[in-house]
């Protein structure tokens, strides 16, 4: 009872009134760091117990951030810039741009991505996901806004600097693969190294290793059109990783894969990320994938980010009907992990007798323990320390507040 109250208090600290979004998404403030906000609150309420549940990297300066980013297709370039330069609100600007016959594909997006974080981007087709990613890597020039990477203003960077940054620090996987049709798989993978001037033997050796990693050993000498869509995508993934970039953009990297390979690639992705700690922006259409892989999720609509936050935020407090439609059929029991709702035990306790689950197991498996008659479940982190506990009431309230309650 007490425990439940604590958790609820922790939640209600950020949810003043039920039904309102957990985080107000004011103009240009879509980038409020929700997880950080919440964990601070939890900490405040629970000063005696160390560390909140989620195994996120510690607080850090954002490595990539953008402010009020606009990309407008069509329309008269000069008029578009004039409209964007005005002080009016975002929605006003959008309305005026559309009236001009222009198409704001990215509309005033602001966001921060921390070092080592995985940000998943979702949204309907045409909502501007790819365009936003392209702006962040400056493949296309935004009409307005600012993009900072490691403190450097990317949009103002000189061509030589930009080239250097891209060679060393940025990798990207493209929705339609973007392979060079005239190069074999291995040469495609080695291409970034070739551009950097690495010797032939060295780069081929590295590329061969990379292809092995993505499960394409033996297909080195195939031309792209001799590979299936999924295989081509894996070549693209291998290519994007070969320079060991710090910042990794993935535009629907797994969409072309069959479910089995996709699952394998996701596992591989998580394994890699546990080792490499890259900063990742990952576009996907699959909420389960987003929940599984991401630290945070951003949902876009008509070029705007309508909500950004953790899986739990989306399940508990979808910002509007559009967002709700994304999570409507999501099996909350399966996507939320035990570690995400466990609360630290107030009084010291002995874990004897209570079943123990791992923090990254789903609520579903926790539920099984309760069905087995347990009163509470102890949640253990990967490193063996105790993350917290989940008791009967907590699970009940969780079921009640998510759609899994109706299921």
């Amino acid at each position: 009872m007490k425990l439940f109250a604590t958790w609820k208090a922790a939640l209600s600290a950020t949810i003043p009134v039920a039904g309102e979004p957990m985080f107000a998404l004011a103009e240009g403030s879509a980038g409020v760091d929700s997880s950080r906000g919440r964990s601070t609150d939890v900490k405040a309420a629970q000063s005696s117990v160390p560390a909140p549940q989620e195994n996120r990297p510690a607080k850090a300066e954002p490595i990539l951030s953008c402010r009020d980013l606009w990309k407008v297709y069509g329309g008269d370039a000069r008029r578009v810039r004039a409209i964007l330069a005005e002080g009016s609100s975002r929605d006003e600007k959008i309305a005026r741009l559309i009236a001009e016959g222009a198409n704001p594909s990215v509309a005033g997006v602001s966001l921060d991505v921390r070092n080592g974080e995985i940000l998943m981007v979702m949204g309907l087709s045409g909502s501007g996901k790819s365009t936003m990613v392209r702006c962040l890597s400056r493949l296309i020039e935004p009409e307005a806004g600012e993009v900072r990477f490691e403190g450097l203003d990317l949009l103002q960077a000189k061509p030589a600097d930009l080239t250097e940054i891209r060679r060393r620090k940025i990798g990207m996987v493209f929705q339609n693969f973007g392979l060079m049709g005239h190069l074999t798989a291995i040469n495609n993978v080695a291409f970034p190294l070739r551009v950097q001037g690495m010797a032939l033997a060295d780069r081929l050796a590295k590329a061969r290793g990379m292809l092995e990693l993505v499960g394409l050993a033996g297909r080195e000498d195939c031309l792209p059109h001799q590979l299936s869509g999924g295989q081509q995508q894996r070549v693209g993934i291998a290519r994007s990783l070969i320079t060991d970039p710090d910042l990794w953009f993935l535009d629907e990297p797994f969409s072309a894969l069959d479910p089995l390979i996709r699952k394998q690639m996701q596992d591989e992705f998580l394994r890699l990320q546990a080792k490499l700690h890259k900063t990742i922006i990952f576009v996907t259409h699959d909420f389960l994938e987003a929940a599984r892989l991401g630290d945070r999720i951003a949902i876009m609509k008509d070029g705007k980010i309508v909500q950004i936050g953790s899986v739990l935020d989306f399940l508990l407090n979808p910002a509007d009907d559009y967002v709700r439609s994304f999570v409507a059929d999501v099996p909350a029991l399966r996507v939320v992990k035990a570690g995400q709702i466990a609360v630290p035990a107030k009084e010291p306790f002995s874990s004897q007798g209570d079943p123990v689950v791992n923090a990254d197991e789903s609520i579903e498996s926790t539920l099984k323990c309760f069905l087995g008659g347990a009163q509470r479940v102890v949640v253990r982190k990967a490193d063996g320390t105790i993350a917290g506990v989940i008791d009967h009431n907590l699970i009940k309230s969780f079921l009640g507040r998510t759609n899994s309650g109706h299921a």
């Binding site: 392209r134 890597s137 493949l139 080239t163 250097e164 891209r166 060679r167 940025i170 990798g171 990207m172 493209f174 929705q175 339609n176 693969f177 973007g178 392979l179 060079m180 049709g181 005239h182 190069l183 291409f191 970034p192 070739r194 551009v195 950097q196 693209g236 290519r239 994007s240 320079t243």
Partner: protein, 680 residues
Amino acid sequence: MLEAFPNRQSLTALGCFGALALAVLAVMFGRELSWLAQVPASFSLPVSNWTNAAIATFSTEFRSLFRFVGDALNWQLKTLQSVLLDIPWSVMIVVLTLGALRIAGPGLAALTATTCLYIVFAGYWKESIATLTLVSLGLPLACIFGAALGILAHSNRYVAAAVDAVLDVMQTVPAFAYLTPLIVLFGFGPVAGLVASVLFALPPMTRNVKVGLDQTPRETIEAAEIAGCSRLQMFALVRLGAATRQILMGLNQTIMATLSMVIFAAVIGGFEDIGWEVLRAARRAEFGNGIIAGLVVTLLAILLDRVSEAAFVRERQPQNKLSAPSFWGLAVLAGGVVWVVIAPLLPSPAQLSMRPYLAPVLNDSLMSVSVYLSTVTATLKSVITTYFLLPLRIGLVRSLTPAIWGFEMSPALMAIYVTVFCGSALVLAFRQQVGAALGVLFAGLLLYTGFSGMPWLPLIAGLTLVGWWLGGIRLAAITAGGLMAIAVSGFWPSTMFSAYLMAASIITAIVLGGLLGVLAAEYEPVSRTMRPVNDFLQTIPPFVILIPLIMFFQVGDFSSYLAIVAYAIVPMARYTEQGLRHVPATQSDAGHLAGCTSLQLLFLVKFPAARSDIILGLNQTIMAALAMLAVAALVGSRGLGQDVYIALSKADSGMGLLAGLSIAMIAMISDRFMRRMAVR
């Protein structure tokens, strides 16, 4: 959908009706209204003299430059030729066959060997080597300049527009037309022909390079950008690589164009190549030699096309066990061994030539065949000439005489004629088919006057109006300006003669080609037999077709007409078949369900659905006919083609260029018309 009443369509109809009325007046009062009927003498300007003067100034101004380039090319030609001639024929055959084996597989290797042996025994080894020399010198030049232009056009939008316009003209002006100024610049001889070949073969290279570079997929470019490509790397590693396939396709076309023009340029003479032999044989009516030499040209063309296609265009499978260096090493070794061991034992090609024995026999037997068939061919010729060609050229008014048709255009007949045409036009007009009504009236007038009697001003006015209706003020301006320019430079009568020849052959090509296309679309065996014939007709250099035509039908309009038809029929048949085959199955199923007979299905469902394909084919047919016009002039028709040809022999570059430009002008105007029509 209501438009204001005096809309473009009704204005055009009214205007065309007016033009028709004017034309009728001009025909009726030819003497009083002669300025309306014929281009007045005072109207023409000495444009061709001005052009000549300009070219003369240009050539004296840059004489040393052209002399230098000409000498350099001449030296290269001579050197390469003597090097190639020094290689014994047996060595050449072994190396070429091995090369074809490597590049294109055993089938084409066999064809290579056969062709080479045929050339040796036909006694045309030296001449074929001369042709090969021209091709192997012209090809790299065309590739280099063509690719450079393509890259320029790729990198700048304005250059692209300019290049595009120039290429359009270059591809429609018959090559004969720029031979003449080239002779002025480079002197009489093979160099002018070589330069003409380079000019002629360069557009496909330019076009394909530009398209290839432009079409690099966006994400490929972006992936390269993320990899941090510099501009040079982007071009060399990414765009060029992505364009390779397209460029190789261009290379295949460039090779064929070079060969075709090298054969063509033989009319200048001076290099004793195989084209010259064909031409000489045709001129002297030595059909035995003509056929033997024509077959050499045909085999060479087919061989070059197939081998280069196999090498560049088709997917290459790594089938050979030997690596490339070791294979070519072996090939050279084999060549060397043959050179040292076998070649000295073999007689020279001249000694091996069977032609002295073969040609007379062939000639005699061909002659007897043509004599044997002469009743048939003569009847065919006279029937088509009397009842189709003549009325189109000089009109019923002059062909309907007792001497030609056996009876006269009596007033009663005339009345019937007018009634039939005006009546059907009226009926059509009542059915709201104003366009068709105007078409019927125009056809009636044309049939009456023929192309030569067609009043020029009303014709230009009518065409301009149609151009306005189809493509707005721009197309109207192009039409009026182009036709007026032709009239002013004094080429109107020639143009009308060419128009007659074109109309006759195009009508025939449409009817026959369309029929073949329909048959091919309906019956697979027809399609299968037609394909190689079409390939053959499109591959061989056009003037090889002329030899059998002269043989059976002698020199004259009729042979020109047949030559043009043979060349122009291919696109019509191809596009019709393709269009009909691509009609969605659901549409023809719907037709079947509605209870169409198969003819109804064809006319009510399939033709309309295949319309844009067929119009495209029609456009290609017109272009092919125009391209053939100058060649057909070799067998003695009049018109613009002959003007070009005469200019060549008189070295009158002004006249040649202007006549050529007139053809290009007609090509351009009709191309625009057809494209607009396809969209409507």
